[in-house]
Symmetry: D2
Amino acid sequence: MTDEMGDLRGKEIKVLDQGFIRLVDYMGSDDAIVEAARVSYGIGTKKKREDRGLIRYLLRHQHTTPFEMVEFKFHVKLPIFVARQWIRHRTANVNEYSGRYSVMEDQFYVPALSEIKGQSTTNRQGRDECEVDPELAKTFVTFLNATHRSLYDEYLRFVDAGIAREIARIGLPLSLYTQWYWKIDLHNLFHFLKLRLDEHAQAEIREYANAMSQMVKSVVPVAWEAFEDYQLKSLAFSALELRYLQNQLLDLDLSDEALVAIGLSKGEAGEFREKLNKIGKLS
Amino acid sequence: MTDEMGDLRGKEIKVLDQGFIRLVDYMGSDDAIVEAARVSYGIGTKKKREDRGLIRYLLRHQHTTPFEMVEFKFHVKLPIFVARQWIRHRTANVNEYSGRYSVMEDQFYVPALSEIKGQSTTNRQGRDECEVDPELAKTFVTFLNATHRSLYDEYLRFVDAGIAREIARIGLPLSLYTQWYWKIDLHNLFHFLKLRLDEHAQAEIREYANAMSQMVKSVVPVAWEAFEDYQLKSLAFSALELRYLQNQLLDLDLSDEALVAIGLSKGEAGEFREKLNKIGKLS
Amino acid sequence: MTDEMGDLRGKEIKVLDQGFIRLVDYMGSDDAIVEAARVSYGIGTKKKREDRGLIRYLLRHQHTTPFEMVEFKFHVKLPIFVARQWIRHRTANVNEYSGRYSVMEDQFYVPALSEIKGQSTTNRQGRDECEVDPELAKTFVTFLNATHRSLYDEYLRFVDAGIAREIARIGLPLSLYTQWYWKIDLHNLFHFLKLRLDEHAQAEIREYANAMSQMVKSVVPVAWEAFEDYQLKSLAFSALELRYLQNQLLDLDLSDEALVAIGLSKGEAGEFREKLNKIGKLS
Amino acid sequence: MTDEMGDLRGKEIKVLDQGFIRLVDYMGSDDAIVEAARVSYGIGTKKKREDRGLIRYLLRHQHTTPFEMVEFKFHVKLPIFVARQWIRHRTANVNEYSGRYSVMEDQFYVPALSEIKGQSTTNRQGRDECEVDPELAKTFVTFLNATHRSLYDEYLRFVDAGIAREIARIGLPLSLYTQWYWKIDLHNLFHFLKLRLDEHAQAEIREYANAMSQMVKSVVPVAWEAFEDYQLKSLAFSALELRYLQNQLLDLDLSDEALVAIGLSKGEAGEFREKLNKIGKLS
């Protein structure tokens, strides 16, 4: 858990056509999680668990408070329609560029042709896997570019003519870029990333989530690994589903050897067995 | 504190040209504030304070938890640029119309000519008191109407052609109406209203705050009166300013009679004297 | 989803030896969840999903905002050591009895003999399944009763002698009962209940969670059923574990008929298949 | 705003008889506040305000988000009755020592004789200015010491005999020390300090607030000065009170010279005049 990756402050990743995410500052690391968790154990702790095991244990058992002890601050440039999804995560601090104080910059998001997809037929919320007709996509991009140009020119014209900025801006489109400082603790950031890395999230915000993931992974590599294993790539089955899976899982080899062989610690193996036993009790 | 105003659920007030605010539901009243506050007093309370006095006392002393025991739920239709200011109040619950699931409706905000004002010269954030040249205002309104028409037509055309709704919408302007359910407790609502009724708030969100104020005042008339007196129309002076005011305030008549005559209770009069004494100690 | 259970306001359940939980008020029902969710669908919604299906869908997909639209307010009497665990849930409103304003009442929690168990050997946090030696348990109860009597007598004596209540109380034990009003929305209440109904939660707070569950189930029966199926009785498997389970799950009958037979809707069956397909992609 | 005070991480201040507060880590400084605020101004900002003026402006106008960009993490050892007041501040992260996992340490708070005061007669909440009879105070301290000794001995005895820690502890008193990591942003910390430095706060928690103030003042000296001037030592007058003060304030010299002489900037002088003008409009 040493800081061998060097200081990551100031690291910036380009996102979308004109956006970025920059890691302004952070407080804490994997060590800070462990340190906070050990406050709970005090003199009653006989043997020091290994740090990685402890972090995995905490995450697995939803002991989330030690993860709240790590804090990240990002500078993000993002289109307004993305900002509107992002801001729904309330447990964070935000300081946004103000279109009342300042003239908005002439920057708008235009999706790459390959990102212009059809309405999903199976998922009412999202876009399809397959792209739309290339001609349609081009028409759309041409439309966006022309709209951006003319709306921004009019905006500037009205601002120059003296109309208050807060009113002049209301004709600008949702593709307009804004920017903000955004600060959040690791526990809430994991929650944000779980939702925004998901395939149901809109592709544009997923790009930001991906960029952020790289940064977070560098700052807290051990916590990130646990997050991937236990949250991001985990699957939950409902009571009904578990009852149906039950019979299939009866004759699994649940010996320590078998389970340690797939990468579980002995403690983790024990908890896995316990979990499968619970399924047996459900029926 | 009786419910003589009848049930206010369902009451709707028109706001701006096409928006509204509707009181969907609420839980509690002035009585609920008093009831929660009395939990703190228990058997140690000898005499029952009068309810109005208690509510004023709580608000004056920032004992805010009893006000959190009252909850309001509103249905609001509002332009997106207003929604973006509104959502910054994080301690609330929101359920918004989704432009990913559904086709956006053809409704856009166009300000009345009288609302199109110049950029304020004293306040970098806001608009001026005086209106801009009427011709300029008309040009702006004409521009907005034409823009709304053409952008919405294009939006529909691209949606109909099969482009995913979540992408097709990004060319729509910030004047587009959205709607949401918004739920908040009375303490946080007072905070929202204090900021959004302020003359520095943008005129459009102030209209919503005004409409909401009428509803809140009807549901909790006594708390509202205290809020007006102690928060909305109160003024705070800094330590530096107080030192300067000090001499002017030396020979005030602070007798109970004088203070009761202006509407303070005896307890409130005592606290007022105490406050003025503090100024004396500051120098 | 009719209100056939009658009004539940005022319903009280005894908890522990002298505690209780009382449902003071609530706002909303299963209908309120559906109503809020439908705001998201607007004119784009072609066919009205069945309400139960919609609620299950929302919970399954962590669309949690509609659940935040229902609010509960409880009056709870509980020992201080339980209150200290409870208060860690921050997204709630609390108004507690004050030992500074009022004399604490003479009420202390003494566990039933059957609840006095040994330190768990497998779970460093909790108590054992099996009871301790009956004599030891009796000694402990005798000790508690004597302690409560003498500490409370001393407390009263010092308060009567004129020592400030806020100081006199510091010798009182954690078994002392306090009381509060506690208000929370359904989404956060489900989170509280998931953690506090868990077998790792301390038995005493679990009793309160159980009592609350009965009340919540009566107010929002459909949401409760979904909560039980998808959260309370669900199990999550980590990426490592899923890889191990994978082979066992290959030859499951995943036909609509088979899955509808176990109680899934067709939509739910489709999502179950999708989930199992993901496991295949993990390896 | 340079970091001439050296790194303050690790600085510890003793509080009460056995407690302490230690500054574990912090993120940001006065510069971070300014940096975040400037995001709002962007290209529209013509001239760079002076940093101190900007910070004062932000605080005066309740532009609180830039202050949220600074974060503090403390390690605190404190009696449980203090912890119960402290935890009511919900917008913070906490990781507390667990009496379920670990044996509680043998440390209890015993107030100094000079701190044992009578119940206030004017303020139902607090203790008096004057001390109680010295004999009474001594009796109380003797009682506490004896109680602590015997309760802790019994606690250990029951733990050693095998009773689960989570149950054995319930006889321990509220004077028992616990400890936690506590993380909070500067805006919320200011709010905490305003309430807990107040003369109505219990003396014990005020000691912690005082110690913390020293640390905060060193990390963000400019913000601290503004906090003192505009919040800590400011006074708010209600509408009723302002109407009464009105006449006294008519003939104040409000020229720039007079106001700059008392330490206001010209901008601040202008806002002061504006505020006094508002009083005139109230009548």
